[in-house]
Subunit: 239 residues, 2 copies
């Protein structure tokens, strides 16, 4: 049987829980673009009512993480090449503004905190834990946004970050291509420490262009395994 409960009735998740879990699944490439998201299946999976799933799907559609078609349900969004390009271009603008704002009032403790994050990221990478390294790499960008202290910029960067995996999976090849380079993160922190806005922006710009340049059309992925949403490293089945 395809649709199976995961400890039915045991784990009770709130609406935000479910939302975050699906977002996280997109973030670390477990949910791939095109995957059909059936309401009862998800409801069973999370042990919640269908109405709750319904609300979550609406919210996800609102932030463009899923596509909803009337009477035909929801699928994980497949952003167009154009949308991907626009997303990356906007990301450069936003991250640039974040750096400018942050450096405007950066203190020593901020630099130290960023240094610690670089260490963690480096260690994870060296020990071969690439999943963890990817997560920490994302956290690095998020932390810059948080430190900048502009809630709207932070909100927009998070929005872009959430949508980026869909662009990568739809138009880029494997996961190897999309990891941030730790060296570049280091160079950014160095520039911040020196209050060197120009260099910081330049490195960030290069850093982001690196990934963007690889966007191009790519053949469909073959249908994969069923939705084992909660288990890491698994992948849903495209519609």
């Amino acid at each position: 049987m395809a649709t199976q409960n995961i400890k039915p009735g045991l784990a009770k998740f709130s609406e935000d829980d479910v939302l975050r879990q699906i977002e996280q699944a997109v973030l670390d490439h477990r949910l791939v673009p095109g995957t059909k998201l059936k309401e009862v299946q998800l409801a069973n999976l999370f042990g919640v009512k269908r109405g709750l799933i319904r609300k979550v799907l609406t919210r996800l559609a609102h932030s463009r993480l899923v596509d909803q078609t009337p009477n035909r349900g929801a699928t994980v969004a497949k952003p167009s090449v154009k949308e991907g390009q626009d997303l990356f271009a906007t990301r450069r603008v936003i991250e640039s503004a974040i750096l400018e704002t942050l450096i405007g009032h950066a203190e020593e403790k901020h630099v130290q905190q960023l240094g610690r994050m670089l260490d963690r990221e480096q260690k994870a990478y060296l020990r071969g834990d690439s999943e963890r390294a990817l997560g920490l790499s994302v956290d690095f960008h998020r932390e810059l946004a948080r430190m900048a202290g502009n809630s709207v910029l932070e909100e927009y960067l998070n929005d872009i970050i959430r949508r980026t995996p869909l662009v990568i999976l739809t138009h880029l090849g494997g996961d190897e291509h999309n990891r941030c380079r730790n060296q570049e993160h280091e160079a950014i922190v160095d520039a911040i420490a020196r209050r060197d806005v120009k260099t910081a922006k330049k490195v960030m710009h290069q850093h982001l262009l690196h990934i963007e340049s690889k966007i191009k059309h790519k053949p469909e992925k073959p249908p994969a395994d069923l939705a084992e949403l909660l288990r890491p490293h698994s992948v849903g089945q495209p519609a």
Copy 2:
């Protein structure tokens, strides 16, 4: 009786219709921050089921136009001073990027189209139709975003534009203060026509700073009339 139907059963609105009408009401200051949005009242008002209103309110909350508190319903959002500042600061970044992108590929027809919009705006202003002038002024900014051709930048600017009236009404005085100055719009179009990115950005920057500088704390507005959402120039009652 406070809650009255407006031709019940006659006008049937879709979910998007209702969403847009409420957004529009916020945009032209008919709905003021703090207004309680009761589900049955809205349902009667629009001649739709409560479930539909419920979905709309969720979506509005997601774009921070309304605040939702569990068991206590929804009110039109009252952004904090900080959020207002962040919003304006981000707007400068976004509009700057829009100008840069637009000027990068602006054609003569774009400039002409903008010129026509300036005329319309000026005429409305001269004939004293300030409501219409305000609308056209907003359209001007939107049109710049559309012409730039980056869907994400456009999306973010529209988000900011939708939220701005709430900041103004919460922290600024009357409506007179917040109108865009037509001269500045003209100067921007002139700069675009000359492909002068630097000047265009500078004028836009000043243009936006003008409003932002006026944000400060302001006493509560007294409760006003009931929700005559559909009728222009009317105002809802704060909670």
